[in-house]
């Protein structure tokens, strides 16, 4: 076991544990906070994957904006300070079964794939992944169009969100 692998295992385990707590917490604020933890774990994994930019974006966007948004939403939709009633619906067992099946299916499909035991290639020296990403995102024969469309999408989402949640009083 290399150091990397140990780190990976710890981080992945913690992330998965946090993820489980997200979906099983009774208290929604707790769930949201556990979501933050999960996201943080994922960011560390990005770092392990030499995708530093993605890791930072993860922290800034997901944790900094989305998780906060969640917390706001939870607070705005509480009838009282306590969460009443069970958190799971009546057919949660079926959901558990389905998710286990999904995992099992994915596991089985992955088992068939030959390239599974691939190990990562060495990064070439002097490779700047951020610059490459920036270039890919903005070059004409890259992905500038999806990039621009994504920004339009965000605009639309913003307008939409504001309109939907606008309190007309």
């Amino acid at each position: 076991m290399t150091t990397e692998q140990i780190i990976f295992l710890i981080v992945a385990g913690a992330t998965l544990a946090a993820g489980l707590l997200v979906v099983t917490s009774r208290n929604l604020i707790h769930a949201a906070l556990w979501l933050v933890a999960t996201l943080f774990g994922v960011a560390i994994l990005y770092t392990l994957l030499n995708a530093g930019f993605i890791a930072v974006v993860q922290v800034v966007v997901y944790i900094g904006a989305i998780a906060i948004l969640f917390i706001f939403a939870v607070m705005l939709t509480r009838k009282d300070m306590r969460d009443s009633g069970p958190q799971h619906n009546k057919t949660w067992w079926l959901g558990a079964l389905v998710s286990l099946l999904t995992f099992g299916g994915l596991f089985a499909v992955l088992g068939q794939w030959s390239g599974l035991a691939k190990t990562g290639a060495e990064l070439p020296a002097g490779f700047d992944s951020v610059a490459a990403l920036g270039e890919a995102l903005t070059s004409a024969n890259g992905y500038v169009l999806p990039f621009e469309v994504a920004s339009v999408l965000l605009l639309a989402a913003m307008v939409g969100a504001v309109y939907l949640a606008f309190n007309k009083k």
Partner: protein, 102 residues
């Protein structure tokens, strides 16, 4: 070196957990939490494949960026909807919102 399979398994597990959350939580916001987990799992998958494939091809990361954008848009709109529904119906329990039928 970490084999690719580890990342993929991790991503599969996180995805399943998120799916469980979507399918079994009562609170609408909690369902959206599950969706976030699923999206994150996908992102991990994408970046892992970029890293363990051709590093020069940035498609994996670009895709992940786009997913970020989409996730953000979706969360904002979704939560705006939940709040709007809460104001109207005074409930956030998904079971009570059953008008999408005959």
């Amino acid at each position: 070196m970490i084999p690719l399979s580890w990342y993929l398994l991790f991503s599969a597990a996180l995805f399943s957990i998120g799916l469980f959350g979507v399918l079994s939580r009562r609170n609408a916001v909690a369902i959206l939490l599950g969706v976030e987990l699923m999206l994150n799992a996908i992102n991990v998958n994408l970046v892992a494949f970029w890293r363990y494939g051709d590093i020069a091809v940035m498609a994996g990361q670009v895709f992940a960026i786009i997913v970020f954008a989409v996730a953000a848009a979706e969360v904002s709109v979704g939560l705006a909807l939940v709040i709007s529904v809460y104001r109207r119906r005074n409930t956030v329990i998904a079971e009570d919102l059953d008008l999408l039928k005959w």
